[in-house]
Amino acid sequence: MSHSVLCRVKDIGLIDYEEAFLIQKQTVSEVIQGQSDTLLLCEHPVVFTLGRLADERNFLIPPKDIESRGMKILAIDRGGEVTLHGPGQIVTYPIFNLNHFRRDLKHFLYKLEQVAIDLLQDFDIVARRISGQRGVWVGQEKIASLGIGVKKWVSFHGMAINVNTDLNLFSMIKPCGLDVKMTSISKLIGKSVDMKDVKEKIVRNYCRNFDLT
């Protein structure tokens, strides 16, 4: 019989990506040293993040134009292509010691996707995975993106779900190098959503899927 895993939840609010990454790094060290698993919740001001091998052609508007509008572009020490964060998008960074669950990256990503699917179900939205792709879709439109890193079997980075995000921002890039349309909870239900409500529901869904206390 499995036992519940102790987890602390930290809402770090609206925070710069780099500042949040420092908190992630700090938390990874703590969890490696035995501190309890930690779920970080936040939103970022508009920022485009690029993986190491990101293709410039995935910017549909010249990067200089984006920066001249006051939006940041950051090169990040991770794989993958370009993606974008902004206010109205809930970003979750589960800093979990996978030894508490299963040393299985695919399984972990699958469970994260399930958290998103279950959260969307709470809003009466039917979401799905697409075979061969990471992420969560409603029909043909993408609503949640994932990307994780692992160090000593402790996870970092995580999952972003569009809640009230300004979807026009995505017209500036090919998210994750894909020709994909993005959607959001508020677009699908036709009204703005209270982030506090989303945060409560997402924590509940993490607890349920990962058997957290």
Partner: protein, 78 residues
């Protein structure tokens, strides 16, 4: 000599791609240091050094695919 092996990453994962070498040939590393980062399926995974020592051999280049259980590099413990 100590091999740095790509460990089991989960059911159904048979290989990963070398994304980034944190260390290079001749580097002195501590046990537990991240030596190389690999990518699979949107997850990047850091492989640590099993022992402190000097990197004597690097067996795969960035961009190359490695099978689970294969040696990525060789460390001479010191």
């Amino acid at each position: 000599m100590s091999n740095i092996i790509l460990p089991e990453l989960g059911e159904g994962i048979t290989k990963a791609t070398v994304a980034f070498w944190h260390s290079k040939l001749g580097d002195h590393i501590q046990e537990g240091d991240d030596v190389v980062e690999l990518e699979t399926d949107k997850a990047t995974f850091n492989v640590p050094a099993p022992a402190s020592g000097v990197i004597k051999k690097i067996l795969f280049k960035e961009g190359q695919e490695v099978r689970i259980g294969e040696a990525l590099a060789v460390v001479e413990p010191q």
